[in-house]
Point group: none
Chain length 207, copies 4
DNA sequence: GATGAATGAGTTTTCATTCAT
DNA sequence: GATGAATGAAAACTCATTCAT
């Protein structure tokens, strides 16, 4: 935004920080939080261990910074997809497409989300600051809003609560994208968002 | 099955093993794999460390055995629900009901699946032996079979491939049940399977 | 006392503990608390580092155990010297003699007392558990009791409060013994307790 | 002495040095040598780390300079007290009074002497450069001179060697002053030097 | 077969010191 | 000369695993 105001010092600092986080992301996503040592991160980032600790006060701090940064990036992209003008169906299509792209472009980050973490709990956003969970919840509310407005405009039927539909849509996209992630050969990347959306859109039952 | 053929020795051994796994399940599900030591498990199970190592060659082996055992239990219950006689809709309802019950009755195990694990990957069955994944895949095939036969009998429309529908149904149930698990007050336990199934059964779109 | 009741196991354990404390005493008294690592202690005692930690939960715990043990030994010896029957002068002589012997026989321990310690404060008993300081204070009270009874029996003049005299006697003995400790050639070991006691007993002033 | 010969440069340098030492004194006396980092000293003195190292070649050097400077200050004051004209008793009284005042006015420095230090040894001047010890020894000789001349003039009895008496007087004052330092409520500051001196001056024994 | 004491590699973290700017 | 970012050796402590009893 206003990056040109940064001094050289500050720019360098940011670049270093980025390199450290990039190294950490690679390692964490590959082996999981507990199987990566600070030494390994320092080595991969080509800094001395002490330097790492100048940027992050401990291992957990580094991990949290990483998660927060990545999830911010995702939320922005996904929120944008929903909030740009368009009718509900368009929004959902844009959303699924954006999420697919984010997955495709950030495989290590995705793995990180699901890889071992501290008290990693259950679903996609687990094991993470309550702060981040809260943001995820809010995002899911935003998504629910799309279903809600669709219902009000009688585009959508009230087959479930809007929030449930948001949860369902997220879980289905996650499931499909992770199929692809784990075995791209057998489970092709869903180019067309309707592959996923039709499961919601169309009724399974005949009559 | 054929337990009466076991000698006293063997029966005792099995009982000991069960106690060890039970202790491990409690601890792992509470604190996560890396925050539990073999000593703690031994102590909780009231055995000496060395004895633990007679039963499991290392920590990972113990962990895998635990996961395998639990997932076997689940698969059996779920497969039974599907394979008992009935039409496709009945089978799906029985399946969702059985899965809910299994969740409700095995919270620690469920937590374990989603808690930190070695290289825990993404969706519900991840982070685990390929052996177990394979079994999960097979189970999902079985579930897909229900959709397939429904399509053949024209009970179901072909809104997606049968396997995709199996994946979708699993991800949605997981998502709903984990909402309940994390915050039972705000997200009530789904007594009626149709709460979940309707998302598949009914079409969202008007027309 | 009742050591014959100890099992072999327990006897071995105690022997090991003793060796660890002995190694620690040597090192601490030589280099000071902060300049000795747990590895060095383990190595000197010929145990693995982990074994050290089976006996003492951390470095401070080891240090405290050492101090406590040594000071117990001293207090016992010194208290005995005072409390055995005899008149006040005899008691003070026995006390100074006992203290000299304890110094002579426990040079490393003495050094330890005065070597660097955590928050080592000032005088001889400093830098140590308040528990130990309290014991030292009590001991000084006992010593003051000797002066007091001497005054009551009019053997001693009331040139200062009994407690002050106890403090003075202790500080003088410490000073002389540490002169000897630091430079035995120039400052001979005080064989005769009256070398020290006369400073209290006799008046410096003519008239 | 000849400070007006100093250039502005040199005067500034000295002022900086003083600030560094003052910061170090505060920190060391509060937390002890090992619990203070060079960074903390630099920060408290409001200089960069590198600048600190321009003045002192390492942490130990800084520490030694500090001790030396403080002890110089003390020795000067105490020597003056002894060497000003007057008879022996006056000199000793002036000495005890001066020492008390020095203690009272320099609590942090006093704490520093007794707080944890490298190889802090035993009595008051220990744990320090041999250079400083030597100076302390010399000072004690000066004090012994007072006792000696008192003996020659038959003011004092020869109850011990003059040097021993100097040692005894020092240890007693230290002991009393440190009692006050540690617990001013129970152990009042000795306003009257004779509180301390009478222990030497008067004989304890009747007869 | 059971035990649990012993092991030591490996982890996180600190901090005195250097040196390019 | 001053700065403070960078360094990496070294510290305390943990815990999976072994093996003598």
């Amino acid at each position: 935004m206003e990056e040109r105001k940064l001094s050289r010092r500050e720019r360098e600092r940011l670049a270093q920080r980025r390199e450290m986080l990039a190294a950490a992301l690679d390692l964490f996503s590959d082996k999981g939080y507990h199987n990566v040592s600070m030494h390994q991160i320092a080595e991969k980032a080509e800094f001395a261990i002490g330097t790492l600790y100048r940027f992050f006060k401990n291992k957990e701090d580094l991990y949290r910074a990483l998660i927060r940064e990545q999830s911010d990036k995702f939320h922005e992209a996904l929120t944008r997809a929903i909030e740009e003008p368009g009718d509900e169906v368009e929004k959902l299509r844009r959303y699924v497409r954006a999420k697919s792209e984010v997955f495709r472009a950030n495989v290590p980050t995705i793995r990180l989300y699901f890889a071992e973490t501290h008290g990693a709990r259950f679903n996609i956003m687990a094991g993470v600051d309550s702060e981040i969970r809260e943001r995820y919840r809010q995002f899911q509310q935003t998504l629910a809003g799309v279903f809600e407005s669709g219902m009000e405009r009688e585009r959508f039927q009230r087959i479930a609560t809007p929030y449930s539909l948001a949860v369902a849509l997220n879980s289905i996209t996650n499931a499909f994208l992770s199929l692809w992630l784990e075995d791209p050969e057998h489970h092709p990347y869903p180019e067309d968002p309707d592959t996923i959306l039709n499961i919601l859109f169309k009724g399974l039952m005949n009559e």
